[in-house]
Symmetry: C2
Subunit: 267 residues, 2 copies
DNA sequence: CGACCACTTGATCCCTATCAAAAGATGTGG
DNA sequence: CCACATCTTTTGATAGGGATCAAGTGGTCG
C-alpha cells in the first residue's frame, strides 16, 4: 500500500514525460513497428513489396478485453498481429487448466502454429482492448512466392517462434520459480524498451493467474514471489504497475541465482 | 529382474517375426519414409521435384553414439534428418543442466530453430550410432522457391515444430510427473508403430537421465515412476527394453488421471 | 578384470500446491 | 454516484511430492 503510493507519486514527478506507467491500451504504433514490416525492411523487401503486403492485411475495429481471436481447433486461415493491446495464447489441458504459451505485445505475431494441421493448436484471447491486424495466410504465402525476401522472412518468423518456445521449455524445466518470474519481467522490460518505453516502469497487461499459468505455478506462489521481490527492494508494485528498482539484481536472479553456491557459502 | 527375463522370453515366442524389442540402430528406412519426402508426396510435389530435392541432400557415414550434429551457437547452415538411430536436441542452462527439447527418431527433422539468428538455438547429440541426412538450408530454400508445393511443406514442417513444443509446454507446465512419463511412452509407441514396428514393445534409445531432462524431473523420480508402472502391471521393463502390458491404462494415466475426482470418490 | 557409468532404492527435507479467508479492485445497474 | 456482486490479489496454515543426498547394484567397454 505504501509502496504503491510511492510508485504512483514518483512516476509523475521524476521525469514528467514518458516516465509514466502506461497501459498497452495506449500503445498505438504504425505498421512500421509491426513484426511483419519490421522484418521485411532490413532484408531487401522494397517499398512496393511492402505496399503489396499491406494490401492483404485486414485491420479490425478494437476488440474488448476477454475476446477470442481464435480458439484451439478453429480452422486456420490467418495469422494476427496486435496493433495495440496485449494478447495471450494458451492451450487447455483436459482438466480445463490453461497453459499460457506466450504473451503477445503490439507488433508480435501469433497464430503460426495453425498451419500444420489446418487448425489452430492453441487459443488466443485479448488481455485488454486490442486492435489487431489479420493477415490471410494463403495470400501471404502467395505473395511470399513472388517476393523471395518475404518468403525468407516468413521462414525466419516461424523459426523464431520455435526458438522462443524452446527457451520457455528450458525455463519451465530447469529454472526455479523465482528465476522464471525474473526472466519474464526482464523479457517484458526489454520488449517495452524496444518499443521506446521505459524498461523499468510498466503496467502488466495480464493478471497474476495468467503469469502463474505461463510460468507453471500457482497464482498464490506468484503473489508470494512478487512480495519477496518487493521486500528485497528489487521491485515496487502497485497492482499491475511494476517499477524495477534494481535491474542488475533482477538480472542476477534471472541468471545464476547460484542456489547451490549460496548454500555452500553459508556452511 | 524376473520381469526382465519374462519380457525377453515372450518376445521371441509369441509371434516369431517382427515382435522383438529392436534397437533404432537397426532401423534403416529408405528416403520414402523420411519426413521431407513423406510430406512432399501427398501434396503435389511430383517425382522430378523429388529428384531435385534428393540431389541436394548429403548422406553422411554413420556417426557413433555421443557425437554432436551441431552445438548451440554453431552457425546454421543445414537441417538434419536421422536415417537410422535416434538423436536428442537440448538446451543447456547456465548451471550446465540439460533441458532436452525433443527426441528425434528416424525420419524426424531437426535443426529448424537455427534460422532466426543464423545460429543453432540448441545442441543435437546422437543417442546411438546414427546415419544422418544433411540438407543445406539455402539450397532447400532456393528449391522451395521453384517448387511452391515444397515451400508450403517447409512452412508446414516449421509449424509442426512450433506445435510440438507447445504440447511439451503444456506437459511441463500442467501435467503431473506420471502423466508426463505416460505421454512420452505413448508418443514413442505411436512413432514406432508409425514406422511399422510394435506399438507395445520397443527399446528406449535414451538414458533415464535424458528422459528426466526431457520431462523436467530428476533421474531418480523417473526410475521410481517406472517402478510404480511395473508394480501396477502397466509396463514390464528390462533396462531400456519396454513392454507395454496395459495400453488402455497407460492412455488413462496420460490423459485424465482425474486426481481430484479419485480423491473425491475416496471420501 | 577393473574402472566407469547407468540405474535403482532408501531417507530426509524443503518448496510449492492446496485450502481457506479476507481485503482490494472492478464493473454494473439502480 | 453509490452500492452491491464478482473477480482478483494477498496472506496464512498445512500437507504432500519430488529434489537431493547417499549408497549399493549391475552392466559395459576398454
Amino acid at each position: 500500500m505504501r509502496a504503491i503510493l510511492a510508485v504512483r507519486q514518483t512516476h509523475r514527478t521524476i521525469n514528467g514525460v514518458n516516465d509514466t506507467p502506461f497501459s498497452l491500451r495506449n500503445m498505438q504504433r504504425a505498421c512500421g513497428s509491426c513484426s511483419l514490416h519490421e522484418l521485411c525492411l532490413p532484408l531487401g523487401v522494397n517499398s512496393s513489396d511492402i505496399d503489396l503486403l499491406e494490401k492483404i492485411v485486414h485491420r479490425s475495429r478494437p476488440l474488448p478485453r476477454g475476446k477470442y481471436l481464435f480458439r484451439e481447433g478453429d480452422p486456420f486461415t490467418s495469422i494476427f498481429v496486435a496493433r495495440s493491446g496485449a494478447v495471450k495464447s494458451f492451450a487447455v489441458g483436459r482438466d480445463g487448466s490453461e497453459q499460457v504459451i506466450a504473451f503477445h505485445l503490439p507488433g508480435e505475431l501469433l497464430g503460426l502454429d495453425g498451419l500444420t494441421d489446418g487448425v489452430h493448436a492453441a487459443s488466443a484471447r485479448t488481455l485488454e482492448t486490442v486492435s489487431v491486424c489479420e493477415v490471410p495466410f494463403e495470400r501471404l504465402e502467395e505473395t511470399a512466392r513472388q517476393v523471395p525476401a518475404l518468403q525468407h522472412q516468413l521462414l525466419r518468423l516461424m523459426s523464431r517462434q520455435i526458438t522462443q518456445r524452446e527457451a520457455q521449455l528450458l525455463s519451465l524445466g530447469k529454472q526455479s520459480p523465482e528465476q522464471r518470474l525474473a526472466v519474464l519481467l526482464l523479457s517484458l522490460s526489454a520488449r517495452f524498451a524496444q518499443r521506446g518505453y521505459s524498461a523499468t516502469r510498466f503496467v502488466l497487461p495480464m493478471a497474476r493467474i495468467d503469469i502463474a499459468n505461463f510460468l507453471g505455478l500457482a497464482a498464490e506462489t506468484v503473489s508470494r514471489l512478487l512480495r519477496r521481490l518487493q521486500d528485497t527492494r528489487v521491485l515496487a508494485i502497485d497492482g499491475r504497475a511494476v517499477d524495477i528498482l534494481d535491474l542488475p539484481e533482477l538480472h542476477a536472479l534471472a541468471g545464476a541465482q547460484l542456489e547451490t553456491a549460496v548454500r555452500e557459502l553459508g556452511r
